[in-house]
Symmetry: C2
Subunit: 292 residues, 2 copies
């Protein structure tokens, strides 16, 4: 029995970081400046702390300066807003990332709206989401951008393919649907109100899942030969010690039907971070061009 090919996100992301490192070095020689990313982390969410550490390590690897603004969850929202305003004004800051999720007391949308779109390396400002709809993207959200690169690594010409995207968040599902549409894919966007999910999955040449249910997608959901991109990051296991990270896809069974599958971990995760790096480099380039 043939097995699906694993799409090695870890390797593809490593190659991408290598290219970015070279680009950063060349830009430094040309302009005497290094890209600079500022991350705002509010509260003590443990997973967020780990993600931010990983982002900093990746910045360090490629030569991007990074700075984390660690704020107490007791901070007033206007304080965060003032920090963002200050970073917007600072010509030494190229990228601003508000680490999500925020503690409940904070209004995410109000804070995201304040980030200068040219520095919005997460691509979540309405202006950037709108540029994506318009087919003229400036900053594209990192996870869907990474997913697209993984898909194109095994299928460069997407024209006429049918994709099913499961999940309609602004971080993944909605921008993913727009990005694929802009690449000539016919896209179906499914979500918690979808009634015939399995049947829709079975028609998809490309399946992108951001569901948040461990191993929810099994072999019987999959069209033979499909490209399956697993965005899920779910904690599995009954005790803290045993806890491990699993995706939305039951990889063991799905691999027997699909053509290509991303693993979790080592699939979408590393690409998300690599795309954050490339967005930061892009932000600096745009800002230098605007200043000339």
């Amino acid at each position: 029995m043939t097995q699906a090919v694993l799409i090695d996100g870890k390797l593809i992301a490593a190659l991408k970081r290598q290219n970015i490192k070279q680009h950063v070095s060349q830009t430094f020689h040309a302009f005497g400046r290094k890209p600079s990313l500022h991350v705002i982390l509010v509260g003590d969410h443990p997973a967020s702390q780990l993600y931010v550490q990983n982002k900093q390590a990746a910045c360090h690897e490629v030569g991007i300066d990074s700075c984390v603004h660690k704020l107490s969850e007791n901070m007033v929202e206007d304080g965060v807003l003032d920090l963002i305003k200050g970073l917007n004004q600072d010509p030494g800051v190229h990228g601003i990332l508000l680490q999500l999720p925020l503690p409940n007391a904070f209004n995410r949308q109000r804070l995201l709206n304040e980030i200068n779109p040219a520095k919005d390396v997460d691509g979540l400002h309405p202006y950037n989401l709108g540029r994506l709809i318009s087919g003229d993207p400036l900053m594209v959200p990192c996870t869907p951008l990474g997913c697209l690169e993984l898909i194109q690594s095994v299928c460069p010409d997407l024209r006429g393919k049918h994709a099913l995207v499961v999940g309609r968040s602004i971080l993944v599902g909605k921008p993913m649907a727009m990005l694929l549409t802009n690449n000539d894919v016919t896209v179906t966007l499914a979500h918690s109100s979808t009634v015939n999910l399995k049947q829709l999955c079975q028609q998809a040449d490309i399946l992108v899942t951001a569901i948040g249910q461990p191993r929810f997608i099994t072999a019987d959901f999959i069209k033979p030969g499909a490209i399956v991109i697993d965005v899920g990051i779910n904690r599995d296991g009954s005790t803290e010690e045993k806890a491990s990270v699993v995706g939305d896809v039951d990889r063991e069974s799905v691999q027997k039907v699909a053509g290509y599958v991303t693993p979790v971990p080592g699939g979408v995760g590393p690409m998300t971070i690599a795309c954050l790096l490339s967005n930061t480099v892009r932000a600096m380039t745009v800002q230098i061009a605007d200043a000339i």
Copy 2:
């Protein structure tokens, strides 16, 4: 044989205009101000001139002040840009509409980007498209908004329905897909690169067509009982004298299978204009609230 129910866009739009008229009158008594819409018309495109006339007549009917800035197609783009900037600054102007299509020499996106999003009654500024993606809309493009109201007039609860939207323009298809997604519909967005359009149509509880091909959608495309919304405005007939307007849907045959169909003319068209009026009223309300 049962026949599909015609969704009477002309009537629904007339009721909507009546409500708007009442609202405008109440607002005038409360604030002493009438909403004001400024339309920018570049060049001599005959259909555009007619559309603009219809918009002005509708404004007049409900008590909205309107003004058309008729510009020569020989005008330089920066001149149009300066006009937009002036209207942005003018507190007496609540809505700004750039009539499309523009003559070829003009960069549509550059001009749309200049309109103050709070006055962007066509909802085509990237910021407004992004607010729509974010599920927190400010100004929604008029045609998709009108289509949604037509759909909801026969099916108030859309949760779990499957819609197929054909066409991926920023005027219709993409915002329509987002609007339906925000209303708990599972949405497939098809376009010129879609390979199995007929099969996809046959699965759709709701079909919205913005194709631009006269009578392209025939009975064999339709799921029995489906709601069919025809956005197409196509000129038919071999001679100028005989020319008439027909939709993308072959209504005669489709009516034998569908549950509900919009006619062309008299379906989406009047609703688009009615939504322009409600957007203009909304723009004034937002601007008054922002000024307080």
